[in-house]
C-alpha cells in the first residue's frame, strides 16, 4: 500500500518537474547547447595535438627534395607544411602564425646524388617546450625514413612496427567519444542539481516533510524527469558524434547502454551536489569546473594506466573513468582500462546506486533538519 502511494507520489513529482522544466525553456536550451559545447571544445583541443603549422621554404624542387618533403609530410602527423618564401616565413614565425620553418637548400638533389650530406636549416619557435619536443623528434624521424627509402649505404638498422590494433584511430574520433561521457556528467549533473536546489531556493523543501510518503519517492520522481531531459540532450550529442563526426559505434548496444547508465548515475550525483550546495548559482560553474580535470584524469586522452600508478589511482575516484572505458569500447571496440568491460559496467552501476543513496540520505537529512 505504502509502495503504491510512493509510486503515485513519484509519478506526480516527475510530472511536476517536467512542467517546471517546460517553464524553464531557456535553461533546457542552454543545457542542450552545453552538451554540444563539450564536443566542440574537445575537437578544438584535438586539432592542436598534431600537425604543427610549419613553413616550407623549398629552394630545390628535384625528385630527392620532393621525396624529403614527402617524408616530412608523412612524419607521423607532425607537420602541416605551408610553402612560402623565407621573408614571409620570418614574418609569420615572428607573429606566432607558424611554429617552425624548414628550408630545403638549393643544391639538395645534386649534393645527395653525389653522396654528400646536405644541411637543412630548421628554425623553431621554441616558445612551448611540448611542441618543441614533438618537432625535435619529427625531423630526425623524417630524415631516417628518407634514408631508408633510398637505401643509402651505411644504414644498417630498420624499425619494424607491429600494432596491437589493425588501424590507427585519429585523435579527434578518440577524444570525441570520451567527451560523450563528460557531456553526460555536465548535462545530467546540472539538471539533477537544479532539480534539488530549486526546492531549497523556493523553500518548497519544507513541504516535503508534510508528504505522506518517504522523501526518496519525491526525489526519485524529480530525478527521473531530469534524467529524461538529460537523456534527450545526450542523445542529441551522440547523434552529432555518429552523424557529424562519422564515428559509428562498433557495439551500439554497449555504447548507448553505457550512456544510458551514465545519465541516472550523473543525475544522482548532481542531486547530491545540489542537496549539499542548496544554491543554483554555482551549480553550472561547479560541473563545468569539475568536468575539465575529471576529463583529463579519467583516460580521455589515452589509456590512463600509461600515466603511472598515482594518476591511475586518482582516476578511479571518478565515475567518468569507467564511463569512458565502456563508451570507448562501445564506439571503437578498444579496451582502454586494465579492467574488463563487465567490471567497468559493474562499477558504473555501483556508482549509480551509491549516488542515489547518498542523494536520498543528504536530502532526507536536510528535510528533517528544516
Amino acid at each position: 500500500m505504502a509502495m503504491a502511494e510512493g509510486m503515485r507520489a513519484l509519478r506526480a513529482a516527475a510530472r511536476a518537474e517536467l512542467q517546471q522544466l517546460n517553464r524553464s525553456r531557456v535553461l533546457v536550451g542552454l543545457v542542450f547547447v552545453e552538451a554540444i559545447t563539450f564536443l566542440v571544445l574537445v575537437s578544438l583541443f584535438g586539432l592542436t595535438g598534431s600537425r604543427a603549422p610549419t613553413a616550407l621554404i623549398q629552394l630545390d624542387r628535384g625528385p630527392l627534395a620532393q621525396s624529403f618533403v614527402r617524408q616530412l609530410e608523412e612524419a607521423h602527423n607532425s607537420f602541416s607544411l605551408r610553402p612560402m618564401t623565407a621573408a614571409r616565413a620570418k614574418q609569420e614565425i615572428a607573429q606566432g602564425e607558424i611554429v617552425a620553418s624548414v628550408t630545403i637548400p638549393r643544391d639538395f638533389d645534386t649534393a645527395i646524388a653525389h653522396g654528400r650530406t646536405v644541411l637543412v636549416p630548421v628554425t623553431v619557435d621554441n616558445v612551448n617546450a611540448d611542441m618543441d619536443n614533438d618537432l625535435r623528434g619529427a625531423i630526425p624521424s623524417a630524415i631516417a625514413r628518407f634514408g631508408e627509402d633510398h637505401h643509402f649505404p651505411g644504414i644498417r638498422l630498420d624499425p619494424v612496427e607491429r600494432d596491437l590494433i589493425g588501424h590507427d584511430t585519429g585523435y579527434i574520433p578518440y577524444l570525441i567519444v570520451s567527451a560523450l561521457a563528460l557531456t553526460s556528467l555536465v548535462v545530467a549533473g546540472i539538471l539533477g542539481a537544479v532539480a534539488v536546489t530549486r526546492e531549497f531556493e523556493a523553500r518548497t523543501v519544507t513541504q516535503w516533510q508534510l508528504a505522506p510518503v518517504h522523501s526518496g519517492y519525491l526525489l526519485a520522481g524529480k530525478l527521473v524527469a531530469a534524467a529524461l531531459v538529460s537523456a534527450l540532450a545526450i542523445g542529441a550529442a551522440a547523434l552529432v558524434v555518429v552523424l557529424g563526426y562519422g564515428v559509428v559505434p562498433r557495439h551500439p548496444l554497449a555504447a548507448f547502454g553505457a550512456l544510458a547508465l551514465c545519465v541516472p548515475m550523473f543525475t544522482c550525483l548532481g542531486a547530491c551536489a545540489g542537496a549539499l550546495l542548496r544554491k543554483t548559482l554555482p551549480v553550472a560553474a561547479l560541473f563545468f569546473g569539475l568536468a575539465l580535470p575529471c576529463y583529463i584524469d579519467s583516460g580521455a586522452l589515452e589509456p590512463l594506466r600509461f600515466d603511472g600508478n598515482k594518476i591511475w589511482a586518482i582516476g578511479h575516484s571518478s565515475p567518468v573513468y569507467s564511463a569512458i572505458a565502456v563508451v570507448e569500447w562501445g564506439f571503437h571496440g578498444f579496451d582502454v582500462t586494465p579492467e574488463s568491460v563487465p567490471q567497468n559496467v559493474l562499477q558504473l552501476a555501483a556508482w549509480a546506486t551509491a549516488s542515489a543513496l547518498v542523494a536520498v540520505a543528504v536530502l532526507q537529512r536536510r528535510v528533517v533538519r528544516r
Binding site: S50, T117, V120, A144
Partner: protein, 376 residues
C-alpha cells in the same frame, strides 16, 4: 560622476557579499588550472618496455641510445614475457625488442628493431613512433645534428652521415617556456572572462530577481551613468579576483614579462576585462534569472576561451576556423598576452589592443542600449 561611483560602490558591495557568485567565477579557471597541471604529466614521456635479447656490443649501443632518451621514454628494461604482461596490463604503451642475432644483422647491414605498439589513438602512438625513429637514426648517424650552419659569410661545417641529410636547428629563444607556464596564461584569461561576464551578468539578473530594478527606475540616474557605474562595479569585482591571482603568479615567477612589457600586458588584461564586464552587463540585461545567467555565462566564457585560442594554438586550426576566430575578441587578448609575455618584441600587440578596444566599445554600446532601456 558621483552617480557612477555610487552605482559602482553599491554593485561592488553586493558582489563582496555574494560568495556563491564569487565561487561560480573562480571554479572554472581553477578546474582549468588543475587540468593544465594534470595534462603536464600526460603530455611528456611515454611508458615503454625494452627487451634486450642480444648481449652483443651493437645491441648495447642501441639499448643505451634508448635508455638515454629520457625526454621520450619512461623505460622498463625487462624480459619478453614480463614486457608482454606489462603491455597487456596497459602499464606500457609499447614494447621494443632488440632481437637475438641483432649484432649479426648489423654486421650484414640489415638489423631490425622490433616494436609492438598499443595504437588506440595516434597522439601518443605517433610520439612513440617519432621517438623510435629518432633512436634508430642516432644508431647509424650518432653525429646527426652536430653540423653547424654558416652565417654572415662564414662557412659552416657539415658533418657527413649515412642519411645524407643533417639539420641545423636554430631556436628563436634561449629557453623553452614550460608547458604549464605556457598554459597558465590562458587560465588567467579565463579567470578574467568568468569574473567579468558572471560579475556583470549576475549583478544585472539580481536586480530583476529581487525586484530592485523598480527602485533603479525611480532614481534620477542617466542611462549612461547607470551603465558606466555597473560596468565599473563589474570591473572592480573582476579586479578583486584577478589582482591577487596576478600578484601570486608574479611572485612565483610564472608571470615574468621581458623588460618594458608590463604596460602592454596589463593593457591587454584591462581591455579583456572591460569587454568581459560589458558582455556580462549585456547578458544580465537580456536574461533575468540567475540560474540561466550562470549557465549562459559559463558557456559564453568557455566558447570565448577556446575559440580565442585559450587551450589551442589558432595556427593549428583549419583555415575556416582561423577566419572565424578573427571575430572572437579573446583571440586578440590571448595573442597580445602571449606576445607581451613570451616574445622579445611587441609585434601585433597594438593591433590586438585596438581590436580588443573596438569589441569592448561595441559591447558597451549594446549594453547601454539594452540595460538603459530596461531601467528607463
Amino acid at each position: 560622476m558621483n552617480a557612477v561611483l555610487t552605482v559602482a560602490r553599491l554593485d561592488f558591495a553586493v558582489w563582496r557579499r555574494s560568495p556563491w557568485a564569487i565561487l561560480a567565477a573562480v571554479i572554472p579557471p581553477l578546474g582549468m588550472f588543475i587540468l593544465v597541471n594534470v595534462l603536464t604529466l600526460s603530455v611528456t614521456v611515454q611508458p615503454v618496455a625494452l627487451v634486450i635479447e642480444d648481449p652483443g656490443p651493437q645491441a648495447q649501443v642501441v639499448s643505451h641510445i634508448i635508455e638515454d632518451d629520457t625526454d621520450a621514454y619512461k623505460l622498463h628494461v625487462t624480459s619478453l614475457a614480463r614486457a608482454q604482461r606489462l603491455l597487456d596490463e596497459q602499464r606500457v604503451a609499447a614494447v621494443i625488442v632488440i632481437p637475438k642475432g641483432f649484432d649479426d644483422g648489423v654486421a650484414r647491414g640489415h638489423a631490425v628493431l622490433d616494436y609492438t605498439l598499443n595504437n588506440v589513438d595516434i597522439d601518443f602512438a605517433d610520439d612513440i613512433r617519432r621517438s623510435i625513429d629518432r633512436s634508430v637514426a642516432q644508431f647509424d648517424a650518432p653525429q646527426l645534428g652536430s653540423s653547424v650552419e654558416g652565417r654572415a659569410g662564414a662557412s659552416g661545417l657539415v658533418v657527413p652521415n649515412a642519411y645524407r641529410v643533417d639539420i641545423a636547428e636554430h631556436d628563436l629563444r634561449t629557453t623553452d617556456v614550460a608547458f604549464e607556464t605556457y598554459q597558465t596564461l590562458p587560465v588567467i584569461l579565463l579567470l578574467v572572462l568568468c569574473a567579468g561576464v558572471l560579475g556583470g551578468a549576475l549583478l544585472g539578473s539580481r536586480d530583476h530577481e529581487r525586484g530592485t530594478i523598480v527602485f533603479l527606475r525611480q532614481t534620477p540616474l542617466g542611462r549612461c551613468s547607470f551603465v558606466a557605474g555597473r560596468l565599473l562595479g563589474a570591473l572592480l569585482a573582476t579586479a578583486s579576483i584577478v589582482v591577487p591571482a596576478l600578484v601570486y603568479l608574479t611572485e612565483k615567477h610564472v608571470i615574468h614579462p621581458p623588460r618594458g612589457h608590463w604596460p602592454p600586458f596589463l593593457a591587454v588584461l584591462l581591455g579583456t576585462a572591460v569587454f568581459a564586464a560589458a558582455l556580462g552587463v549585456l547578458l544580465g540585461s537580456v536574461s533575468r534569472r540567475s540560474t540561466t545567467v550562470a549557465l549562459a555565462g559559463v558557456t559564453v566564457s568557455s566558447y570565448l576561451f577556446f575559440l580565442g585560442g585559450g587551450f589551442t594554438t589558432i595556427a593549428f586550426l583549419p583555415h575556416w576556423l582561423q577566419t572565424l576566430s578573427l571575430l572572437v575578441p579573446t583571440r586578440y587578448g590571448i595573442d597580445g598576452m602571449r606576445q607581451s609575455l613570451f616574445y622579445a618584441d611587441l609585434t601585433g600587440v597594438p593591433t590586438d589592443l585596438a581590436a580588443l578596444g573596438g569589441f569592448a566599445l561595441a559591447t558597451l554600446v549594446a549594453s547601454i542600449a539594452v540595460l538603459g532601456r530596461s531601467v528607463r
